[in-house]
Each structure stands twice: as C-alpha cells, then as structure tokens.
C-alpha cells in the first residue's frame, strides 16, 4: 500500500515535470514555427500548431532584406563577443592569478577595491560610462562597444577563487625548475586550469552576445548594430515582416544554443565553483 502510494507520487511528479518541460520548450518551438511559416500563417486569426506551408526560403530572404542588416549585425556581434571573451578571460585570469598567488602586502586591499565594483550594477553606470565613451570619441566604434566591458570583476573573482584552490605542488615544481611567475602561469597554470577558462569564457560569451543596453547606447549607427539591437529596432518598426523577424531571431540564437549544449557542464561547474553559495 505504502509502496503503491510512493510509486503513484513519483509518477505524478514525472508527469508534472514533463508538462513543465513542454511549457519551457514552447517558446523555442514558436520561434522555429513562425520562422518557417508564411506571413499569413502567423497572422491568421485562428492559431494552428503546425503552419499550413513551410517556407524554407525565409532563411535566405532575411539576409537580403535591406531594412534589416542581419549579415552585418551578425558579423558585429561575432567580433564583439569573441574579442570580449578573449580579452576578459586574459585580463581577469592574470589578475585573479596575481591576487591569489603573488604575495603582495596590499593584495587584499586591491582585491576589495575590485570586489566593491560588484556592488555597483553595471547598468546603473550606463549614463556615466556613456559620458566617458563619448568624450573619448568612441561612439559607434568596435572599441567603444568592447573595451569598457572587458574589466569584469565577476570573472576576476571566479579566477581568484579557483587559483586559491589550485594545487600548489605543480607550481612549486615549476619554480624549482627555475620558471618565473610569467612562465609558470603560461606553461603550468593555464593548461591545467582549462575547465575554469571554459566556464568563464562561455558565461562571458553568452553575456556579450546577448547584451542589449550597452550596444543600444553606444552602437548608434546602423553599421555598428549588434544582432540584438537590429532585432529590437526591427520589432519596433512600423511595417515589419513577422516571418523575417522570427527567422532572424532564430538565426541569432542558433550559434549560442550549440555553444551552450556543448559547454553546458562547464557553465554548471563554473557556477557551482564560483563560491556564490558557499
């Protein structure tokens, strides 16, 4: 009797989970459905689960629409996301290693000065940062979009925590062999810390690809639009072609979903190791 109850409970929970999972997947389905449908299929009064006709030409049409510079925006987003990721990982890992491993009397003071900026949400500084970037004449330039975002206190924090727990024996061996800090870092530490580089890299890449407020403020010229800004501008346009908008949105998340599914376990590990809930 008791067993039957437990089993019934377990089955009920599974049914509930499957229902929730379907609910979470519906938006992805809608993205693909509307992206491949005809305009009439999307705007018809009665909604149907499957579109009446699949229109694969949407995929090429969206790249030819002069109103939506999707190709250019994808290129911009790729350049920004890749350079932001490489720059952030390099700068933050060096700083994190220095803070964790090079004995310096004021290291903790420097660390708290860095940690303090975590309390200032980046979005609140967008007005002052805009002021600075426009003074530098960096509006609508790649460096204006990338450089100010390279100094992530969060990434530095994760690297520091990781290097604090890094086995010291490996480095000691390197030191005995006469390697200095720089070569120890480059030849011993980096190759042995690949998981944390992958974790931070993925998180930074996703954040840079999905960023909206900063690219909206700084990328004012059409030539400097990222995918997110282009999509958003297209959403608020007066005459919009819904099927194009949906296929553009689907194209914009495709690379990310692939990266995400491949590197998911690193993200999970990175989150778990960040010390956020310790």
């Amino acid at each position: 009797m008791h067993d039957a109850l437990t089993r019934a409970g377990r089955a009920l929970r599974l049914v509930f989970l499957i229902a929730l999972a379907l609910l979470f997947l519906i938006p992805f389905y809608l993205l693909v459905r509307n992206g491949l449908a005809t305009e009439r299929d999307i705007t018809a009064p009665g909604w149907t689960f499957f579109p009446h006709t699949l229109q694969w030409s949407n995929l090429t049409e969206v790249f030819r629409d002069p109103n939506l510079p999707l190709g250019r925006a994808l290129l911009n987003s790729t350049l920004i996301a890749v350079s932001t990721t490489l720059g952030t990982v390099l700068l933050a890992s060096l700083a994190g290693y220095g803070l964790a491993r090079i004995p310096y009397r004021r290291a903790n003071l420097v660390f708290y000065a860095i940690l303090g900026t975590l309390m200032v949400p980046a979005a609140v500084t967008f007005v002052p940062s805009f002021v600075l970037v426009s003074t530098l004449g960096w509006i609508s330039t790649l460096r204006g979009l990338v450089v100010p975002t390279l100094f992530s206190a969060f990434a530095c924090f994760i690297f520091r925590q990781y290097f604090l727990g890094f086995p010291k024996e490996l480095e000691d061996a390197a030191r005995v062999d006469g390697l200095g800090y720089w070569r120890t870092y480059w030849r011993i530490v980096v190759p042995n810390a690949r998981p944390v580089f992958a974790a931070v890299g993925t998180i930074v890449f996703i954040g840079a690809w999905n960023a909206f407020l900063w690219p909206l403020v700084i990328g004012q010229d059409r030539e400097a639009w990222t995918v997110q800004v282009a999509l958003s501008t297209f959403t608020t346009a007066q005459n919009l072609n819904l099927h194009e908008l949906f296929v553009a949105a689907a194209v914009s998340i495709a690379p990310l979903v692939v990266v995400f599914l491949l590197l998911q376990r690193y993200i999970v590990a990175g989150v778990e190791r960040s010390g956020i809930d310790d």
Binding site: L30, I42, L99, V127, F212, L242, E272, D278
Partner: protein
C-alpha cells in the same frame, strides 16, 4: 570565500625578508618598491592592466557622473559652459512624479519576480534532483532559456504568445474556453502587461537559479536525511521543512540577493515588450528605462540623467548593505 587561504598568501610575505642575510646592504628605494624577488613588480604586471581598466571604466565614470550631476548639462558631456545648478538636478529628480513612479514600478516588479523566481527555481531543483533517470535532459531543458536574450524572448512573447487581439497563442488557447480576446500589452486596467513581463523573466532566469539550488542540494549530507528517517520524519513536507530548507539557507540568501540586484537592472524586457513605433507608453517604466529616456532621449539631459544614476546607485548600495546585514552576511559569504 576561503579566508584561511588568503591569510596563507599574505603571511607568505615576511619569510623571504628574513632570508635577506643580516648585514646585507640596505636596499635602495627601487629595490624596496620592486619587493623581494621583484614580487611587487610581478604583482602589478599581472593585476595592473585589469585594475587600471576597472578604475578607468568604473570609478572614473562614477566620479564624473557625480560632477556632471551638479550642472545643467544638455547635449553635452563636459559641463564647461553649462550652468552650475548645485543640487537642483537632485531636487528635480526627487520631486519628479515620473522618476518616483519608476521606483514604484521597480518595487512592484521586485515584489512579483523575486518570490516567483525563487519558488519556481527551488521547485524545479527539488524535482530534478530526485529524478533517477533523464536528470541531465530535464536540467538542460530548464537551463536552455538562459542562452536566450531578452530581445529574442520579447519577440516571441510580444509577437507570438501574447500578441494583440487578432492572433497569438494565449488568445487562441483562451478562446477554446470561450474567453474574450485580450490586448495583453496595452491593457492597463487590469494590468495584464505584468503577466507578460513576469513570465518572460521567469522563463529566462529560473533555470540559472535552479542550477544554484541543485549545487546547494548536492552539498547536503545524506546522513542528515538518514537521521531524519530514523527519527520518524515523513519524507516530503516534514523533511523539506526541517532538513532541506534550513540547509539551503546560504544558497537562498545568495539567490534572493542576486534576484533583487537583477530586478534593479530590468531594462531589456520592458523596453522591448512595451515600446513600439509610437514610442514608450507612460506606464511601467522601471528606473533604467526612465533614465535611458531622460539622458539619451530627445532631451539629452545628461546632468539630470547623471543625478538619477547617482540616486539609483545610492539606493542600490543602501539596499544591498541592509540586505546583507539582515541576512547576517559577513565577509565570508560575500
């Protein structure tokens, strides 16, 4: 944070000093600056580029913003030539019903989104954690929206699920039950747009916090559950209330802090869901949306915008400190 290891790194310092033989030449200023074995130099070579950049792009803008906030700076980022207005901008902001209304919008939004995300992500973690099979599959499904941007999610929500009266999933499904068609995003009485805004964020965020809770759950010692079973606690509510929930306290505190900080930064979904070719409606403007239009909208009133940013930064700082105190957060859990 691991305080013990930090100390270890610091107490490392004196050792090499002692190694300097007594009677050795007094070191020059340069040698002292470089530190034993040039450690100070190496420290700054590693940390310097990051620290300088952070200072330049976080501390400098903040200070500049405070300076600018005392000027009537329209269309300009250098206050030279514009009038010094002292605390005028602050007075204007704090007596502006639209700005105060934006803070009200934030409070209301937080009151919706924090408990909802907390409950949903905890429930997902508890259910996924107990699965014997397909655990990775369900975890991926709930985590996958984290890869989506608010812009893309807003496209789906605004133009497919909660579209206006002609088409859209929500109205179609409700129509099967004979419900009337609703203009979700433009109905202010009742404020149906809240449903749209809250569900977007829930969908995008719940999976991330579920991961945090899963990490917390895995750290609970199985012995605690065994002891509870010996004591006759019934699996389910009793065990959750007396074991699981208290053991998740640190995770819960971190999750609530992150949720509140993130709610403060709400911009993307409001902007993308509610603005259209005619502009932004007068309702539902959280602080960032309001500042965006003040500083970078038609007026380009950067002095006023800076004052707003400073006020907002102060509110966030106070709120964070109060929360940290309230939850008894020490340095350890920062």
């Amino acid at each position: 944070m691991t305080a013990g290891r930090t100390e270890e790194a610091v107490t490392d310092v004196p050792a090499p000093r002692a190694a300097v033989a007594p009677g050795a030449e007094p070191r020059s200023l340069g040698a002292r600056l470089l530190g034993p074995q040039r450690r100070n130099l190496w420290f700054w070579l590693f940390v310097g580029p990051f620290a300088i950049g952070l200072g330049l792009f976080t501390y400098v803008p903040l200070v500049w913003s405070v300076y600018l906030s005392f000027f009537d700076a329209h269309n300009t980022v250098s206050p030279a030539g514009s009038d010094f207005v002292g605390l005028g901008n602050y007075g204007a902001m704090l007596s502006d019903p639209a700005f105060l209304g934006s803070l009200g919008t934030f409070l209301l939004f937080t009151a919706f989104i924090v408990p909802a995300t907390y409950a949903l992500s905890l429930a997902l973690a508890l259910m996924v954690n107990r699965l014997r099979f397909a655990q990775a599959f369900f975890r991926s499904v709930f985590f996958l929206p984290t890869a989506c941007s608010y812009v893309v999610a807003a496209v789906i929500w605004k133009l497919s699920i909660f579209n206006g009266v002609r088409f859209g999933l929500a109205n179609t499904v409700l129509g099967w039950f004979g419900a009337e068609q609703t203009a979700w995003l433009s109905t202010t009485d009742p404020p149906w747009y809240w449903l749209v805004i809250v569900t977007v964020r829930l969908w995008l965020q719940a999976g991330f916090y579920m991961i945090l809770f899963l990490a917390g759950l895995q750290r609970i010692s199985p012995q605690l559950y065994e002891a509870a079973a010996v004591d006759g606690a019934r699996p389910g509510w009793q065990v959750f209330r007396h074991i699981t929930f208290p053991q998740l306290r640190a995770t819960s505190v971190a999750v609530v802090l992150l949720l509140v900080i993130n709610a403060f930064q709400a911009f993307d979904e409001f902007y993308n869901l509610l603005s259209d070719a005619r502009g932004y409606p007068p309702y539902a403007r959280p602080p960032l949306v309001y500042l965006y239009y003040t500083a970078l909208g038609r007026d380009q009133n950067l002095g006023l915008g800076s004052a707003g940013a400073v006020i907002l930064a102060l509110i966030i700082a106070v709120a964070t400190v109060v929360q940290a105190r309230w939850f008894g957060l020490g340095r350890k859990e920062e």
